[in-house]
Symmetry: C2
Subunit: 225 residues, 2 copies
């Protein structure tokens, strides 16, 4: 890997890394799978059912397998499961995820008539819960604000957003920033330690409010970086 | 006021509104005062001490007075006090703030060797605490992410950020969006109800992390709006 720098433009070479996406049958997972496959990565979509994984992988340039197989085979593993069941799934995959970079992009949100709102999380955030469960993994938080609609839309060549990347392991956050920047139009920006992941996850509720008010697919850009 | 629309570009006319800033002797308060004065607003800086308020007002084109005087006189009142003492100050100003638009921009943050982090707030956020205390006011949350350094820098003609505006009173959030857009370079964007203000306040910790990593004064822009 390349040397560390403080520029988001100078990041390690990650094009050879394979990417696994747990819970990759949902829209967010399939959208990320599609964009990483377009960027030339080997992408593995995981699900409880190998067959559902294979079905989801069709059409986005990925391979499908059971979550445990994906966790064992992929170089970097993205967690894109629903918040319900998040902890339980990770507990079941502690061994295959040991030593790996695990990227949590789960948003613990509730929904009612007034829209989305952040759910309280005992550990502070989904990412911190992942870190508490996966003590042998290098947990990073990222990809919370990507619009699944845009990622899956074949008419969208580039997305217009920065991916906020959080974590306590500098080498791991550098790798994830570089991976984020492989998505056409996106840029990975370091945005703090894992203890500050909760508000990034929760901000997804605000983006949903923005989308509803303005009828858009909003993203965030960080200025001056 | 102009008719409601869903465009951030079409907002009510607010140029005649006077703006009071409670705790306006701090950098954030003085920075906002300076920019609103530059935009042509009458600006009142409030402090516990009228003398300190007058000193802070000098050089930024504002007038200084005691907080209670500012709360009574200004059309729109911005709360820019430190988190410590936030609740107490607002409790003391319930009467003069009754019926007014009160804009809370307070970030409940702690700091240690690893940087900034979000403090837990019983009411969910500083803005919700303000709403709980000021039951007769129209509480809006905004201006959390503005960089005091940039606001105060005479060489900075325009800031590069969107001001996220949150609240449950549509007319009030429209007014605050319009006010935010009076700051050269800034744009007021509606970003949800008050119950989703906590993560916006807490995101200031992430911006501090970004500033530290990249040696910048970061802001956020909302794309596709």
């Amino acid at each position: 890997m390349a040397e560390r720098t403080d520029s988001p433009q100078a990041l390690p070479e990650v094009s050879a890394l394979s990417i696994g996406i747990l819970g990759g049958t949902g829209d967010q997972g399939r959208g990320l799978a599609r964009r990483f496959a377009l960027a030339g990565h080997t992408v593995l979509i995981g699900s409880r059912s190998a067959q559902r994984a294979q079905e989801a992988a069709e059409g986005v340039g990925a391979r499908g397998a059971e979550n445990a197989v994906v966790a064992a085979e992929a170089d970097v593993v993205i967690v894109a499961v629903p918040w319900e069941g998040h902890k339980q799934l990770l507990e079941s995959l502690r061994e295959p995820l040991d030593g790996k970079i695990v990227v949590d992009c789960v948003n613990p949100l509730g929904f009612d008539k007034q829209g989305a709102y952040a759910l309280p999380v005992e550990e502070g955030s989904a990412a911190q819960q992942a870190a508490a469960v996966l003590t042998g993994s290098r947990v990073v938080a990222a990809f919370h604000h990507v619009s699944a609609v845009l990622l899956l839309d074949p008419s969208v060549d580039e997305v217009d957003l920065d991916v906020l990347v959080l974590g306590d392991d500098r080498e791991a956050t550098d790798v994830v920033q570089a991976l984020a920047s492989r998505i056409a139009g996106a840029r990975g920006v370091y945005a703090g330690r894992l203890r500050n992941a909760g508000q990034v996850e929760a901000m997804t509720a605000n983006l949903i409010s923005i989308n509803r008010r303005y009828k858009v697919h909003a993203g965030l850009r960080v200025t001056d970086v």
